[in-house]
């Protein structure tokens, strides 16, 4: 659904390209995870997807339409993005915040219609934030806030959701909840593309992993193929082993001590 | 309603409580507060100041008598004019850039501003007497000139009695009291004559506005109020002790003056301003335009000034 073809991104006044020749496909109904060390270009890719960062070469296609040919709001109707951090200067109620997700769909007078209300209700139910509707967003806990952000992204009503480090500040329980939710979304037909440094969780929930190394794709494919000690050691520059615990059912990376 | 193109502007920054300053073209005498509280001695011919102050200038210092100055620098439009009237104009070697009366004053070299004077330029004229404008702003210059050994005095004439007193002091300073007395007598006699001629006539209330934004008017502490009194009228703000004060149009409407006395530029601006036309006198066209060259300062032409005002307000009364 989202296809990157040889994408190259260069930041102005930078010595080398942030992303070079990255290609992969994030399909509907699957969880695709982009992983890699700091500075490997993960967040840059997200920026390129939403048009905040200019693509020097290659293209990004959504359902075979080049995103540079799409209007911004058209793109926003297809893809929802949940960025790494968000802090509101002026707190809203959760219901108002989620409703903002419908912005790309609203017409000139920006009045919400039946479809919009439906989408908002569905989004709040799927993320289980209905009980939080009348609370102010600055009164939410970290986990609640994250779910509310997902609700807004879902209310955007697209077929794809892109998340940049969605579990960055969450504890184990909330992390698992988030990944379960993402898994459910994918099974429901969404294309879920996430950037994360949580290799082990990603390995358990993703259908496809893309490992970036200094802007290039070092490995891609099913988690079992990507989670190989050799390539991971090289990319991360740290001794590690990859284990497989039958209770977990997916490969896990364990860093060693030097 | 800018009066800057006219010769007269009574410059006051009322909010910061300034003093009334006699003004000539582009005068820069906006300075700090001095609210004159002396009750009007309105130009009848009696001796000016109370005895105790007879020998002090307007900085409060004793005036150095016994000099016979031959190189006088006068940085004060009023005193420059008085010196010329006393025939001492030939002894002037320096004047301020705004000392433009009488016409002969233009021949005297210009040594700079009257407020915060250029002390170097003044010293360059090698004076043996310097007369400053007596405002607090000039105290530093006063100190510096005295340090340099130059006898320096300051005069600030806001009222008719001050004019009388300071003219006499100037006469003693330049060693020509007789001529000084002559100047004083001419002025006081004329004013007395005008007062006598209008004494029995009805006295209309008069507004004398000097600025527009904010609205500044002449108050009871100014010589203009005294002149109006002599000319058979009454300043509608005579009850205010300050020489000038900031008021609002509403207050003027409330006091409802019979006449408005204005400089030429002011008059045209007022007639067309919808805000000023709220004042009944303006709407009815009762605006008298005075001759700024005569009326703008409390100096040797005070008598003429009183006469000209009387002629405007009570035409034909003074023969």
């Amino acid at each position: 659904m989202i296809r990157l073809e040889d994408v190259v991104v260069r930041y102005p006044r930078a010595a080398s390209a942030a992303v070079t020749g990255v290609s992969f496909v994030a399909a509907r109904g699957a969880v695709t995870a982009v992983v890699g060390p700091n500075g490997s270009g993960k967040s840059t890719l997200v920026g390129a997807l939403i048009g905040r960062v200019r693509i020097a070469a290659g293209r990004v296609c959504v359902d075979d339409v080049d995103t540079s040919d799409m209007a911004r709001d058209a793109l926003a109707r297809r893809i929802a993005v949940v960025t790494q951090r968000e802090e509101l200067a002026f707190p809203l109620l959760v219901s108002e915040y989620v409703a903002l997700g419908r912005f790309p769909h609203l017409g000139i007078w920006r009045a919400a219609g039946e479809t919009d209300r439906r989408a908002i209700i569905d989004a709040t139910q799927m993320t289980a934030v209905t009980s939080l509707a009348e609370r102010r967003v600055d009164s939410l806990s970290g986990g609640e806030w994250q779910r509310v952000r997902f609700a807004r992204a879902l209310a955007q009503g697209g077929d794809a959701i892109v998340l940049d480090e969605p579990t960055a500040f969450l504890d184990i329980a909330h992390e698992m909840l988030v990944f379960e939710l993402l898994h459910r979304l994918a099974r429901g037909g969404q294309a879920v593309l996430l950037v994360s440094h949580q290799l082990n969780l990603v390995a358990r929930f993703a259908d496809q992993m893309v490992l970036l190394d200094r802007g290039r794709v070092a490995a891609s494919g099913a988690p079992a193929e990507v989670m190989q000690a050799e390539v991971l050691e090289r990319v991360y520059g740290w001794p590690l082993v990859v284990t497989r615990d039958p209770a977990v059912g997916a490969p896990a990376l364990v860093p060693l001590r030097r | 309603m800018a009066t800057r193109r006219t010769a007269v502007a009574f410059r006051v920054a009322g909010i910061f409580s300034t003093e009334l300053v006699p003004v000539f073209r582009f005068c820069r005498f906006a300075t700090l507060a001095f609210i004159g509280g002396v009750a009007a001695c309105s130009g009848s011919s009696h001796a000016g100041a109370p005895h105790g102050l007879a020998n002090r200038d307007d900085f409060g210092d004793t005036v150095p008598f016994g000099l016979t100055p031959s190189r006088i620098v006068s940085l004060n439009p009023t005193t420059t004019e008085i010196l010329f009237a006393m025939g001492a104009g030939a002894r002037l070697v320096g004047r301020s850039q705004y000392d433009l009366f009488p016409a002969a004053a233009a021949q005297v070299p210009n040594v700079g501003p009257a407020l915060r004077p250029n002390v170097e330029a003044v010293l360059g004229a090698r004076p043996d007497l310097v007369i400053l404008y007596g405002s607090e702003d000039n105290r530093p210059s006063l100190a510096r000139l005295r340090e340099a050994g130059i006898p320096t005095v300051g005069f600030k004439i806001d009222r008719i009695d001050q004019f009388v007193r300071d003219t006499r002091l100037l006469g003693r300073l330049v060693n020509d009291s007789a001529r000084a007395e002559g100047v004083v007598d001419t002025v006081t006699a004329t004013i007395a004559r005008v007062r006598h001629a209008t004494a029995t006539l009805p006295h209309p209330t008069v507004l004398v506005p000097t600025w527009d934004r904010p609205v500044i008017v002449i108050g009871g502490g100014s010589y203009l109020s005294e002149l109006l009194d002599a000319a058979g009228a009454r300043n509608v703000y005579a009850d205010a002790p300050a020489a000038s004060l900031v008021v609002t149009l509403e207050d003027i409407v409330r006091r409802n003056p019979d006449l408005v006395l204005a400089a030429p530029g002011q008059a045209t601006a007022m007639r067309t301003s919808p805000l000023w036309r709220a004042v009944p006198a303006v709407r009815a066209g009762h605006i008298l335009v005075y001759d700024t060259a005569i009326v703008s300062r409390p100096s040797v032409r005070l008598g003429e000034a009183a006469r000209s005002l009387a002629d405007l307000i009570h035409p034909g009364a003074v023969r």
């Binding site: 939403i50 048009g51 905040r52 911004r72 709001d73 058209a74 793109l75 926003a76 109707r77 929802a80 993005v81 949940v82 960025t83 968000e86 802090e87 509101l88 200067a89 002026f90 707190p91 809203l92 109620l93 108002e96 903002l100 997700g101 912005f103 790309p104 609203l106 920006r110 | 309603m1 800018a2 800057r4 193109r5 502007a9 410059r11 920054a13 009322g14 909010i15 582009f26 005068c27 820069r28 005498f29 906006a30 600025w211 527009d212 934004r213 904010p214 004060l245 900031v246 008021v247 609002t248 149009l249 509403e250 207050d251 409407v253 409330r254 409802n256 919808p274 036309r277 709220a278 009944p280």
Partner: protein
């Protein structure tokens, strides 16, 4: 915000306006007031009310509304509760225009035009500086460019005033302190036009401000052309602010304080905040003008001084809440 609060806001404005028209050097009792407004009052009262009071109260309302809306729009767009209408050098540029006009003796009619032109030049300069610095849409770069332009404008004013005549200085100072005392109907008409068009545009752009308030990345993710939207909002808000400066000089703190009051009252979506800020801003300036007239009779304080005085306790309460 609940309908009840909206009614309260409108009522407050109405009452403030009536009080401001009725109270002054001459106090006009309510009965005479209504007669005068309808045109059937006694001579003096009617003159004072119709020529002197009503114009200034109307101008005060328009100026307050403009400043309130401009401040609300800028605070939301820049996600900064301390943003205010004079941000992009509007006040500095307008002051330079006014001071230069005063010095050249351009007269009362051209001075507002000069102030407006000065404000526009300053805004354009701020955009240029930001562009050269490489971050056109980045709010922080624009903010700093505005500070630079404002500092330059202050320097220019000092240069002009340093050797100016006392008249020029006084005129300039009086203008810079803000006043609605010289309100005339043509001025009011122009201000009204700017408020209608500019304010209307801001309200229409309200949802975009909501989205911008989420942050630039989130806004872009929702399909908004962030650079263009910010630029539009800056320009329109600055235009409205420039119009208020041209009409009434520098009236500070209104644009800063009013949006906080409105948000404290429960308005969250920016369409509400904008309209609420218009109402509260109008009320604030009307009341300030009334106080300006009553605090030191028979002189008037400049209305900018009164609004500044109001700003101080506001900031104190905000500081306390922070600490």
């Amino acid at each position: 915000m609940s309908p009840l609060r909206w009614c309260a806001l409108m009522l407050a404005l109405f009452v403030a306006a009536l009080l401001a028209i009725g109270i002054g050097t001459i106090n006009i009792p309510p009965s005479a007031l209504f007669d005068a407004l309808r045109g059937s009052g006694s001579g003096l009262t009617e003159t004072v009310v119709r020529t002197l009071r009503v114009p200034r109260v109307v101008l005060a309302m328009l100026v307050g509304a403009g400043l309130g809306m401009s401040g609300a729009a800028l605070q939301g767009t820049m996600r900064n509760p301390l943003a205010e209408p004079y941000l992009l050098g509007v006040s500095g540029g307008a002051a330079v225009g006014a001071v230069v006009a005063t010095m050249l003796g351009l007269g009362a009619v051209l001075l507002p035009v000069a102030a407006f032109v000065g404000a526009l030049v300053a805004v354009a300069a701020a955009f240029s500086v930001a562009h050269v610095a490489g971050g056109r849409g980045d709010a922080r770069v624009l903010l700093m460019a505005g500070v630079v332009v404002g500092a330059f404008a202050n320097a220019a004013i000092m240069v002009v005033l340093a050797n100016a005549e006392s008249n020029t200085i006084r005129d300039a100072l009086w203008w810079m302190m803000g006043s609605v005392a010289d309100a005339t109907w043509p001025q009011i008409g122009i201000m009204g036009l700017y408020l209608l068009v500019g304010g209307g545009a801001l309200v229409a752009l309200g949802p975009r401000v909501d989205v911008l308030a989420l942050g630039e990345e989130a806004a872009a993710g929702l399909g908004l052309d962030v650079d263009a939207a910010m630029r539009w909002i800056f320009v329109i808000a600055s235009l409205v602010a420039a119009a208020t400066v041209a009409a009434a000089g520098l009236v500070g703190f209104v644009g800063l304080v009013v949006p906080h009051i409105v948000r404290a009252g429960g308005a969250r979506r920016h369409r509400e905040v904008l309209v609420g800020s218009a109402l509260v801003g109008a009320t604030l300036v009307v009341v300030s003008d009334l106080l300006a007239r009553m605090l030191r009779p028979p002189a008037e304080l400049p209305v900018g001084a009164v609004t500044a005085l109001i700003g101080v306790p506001f900031f104190l309460t905000k500081l306390r809440r922070l600490a």
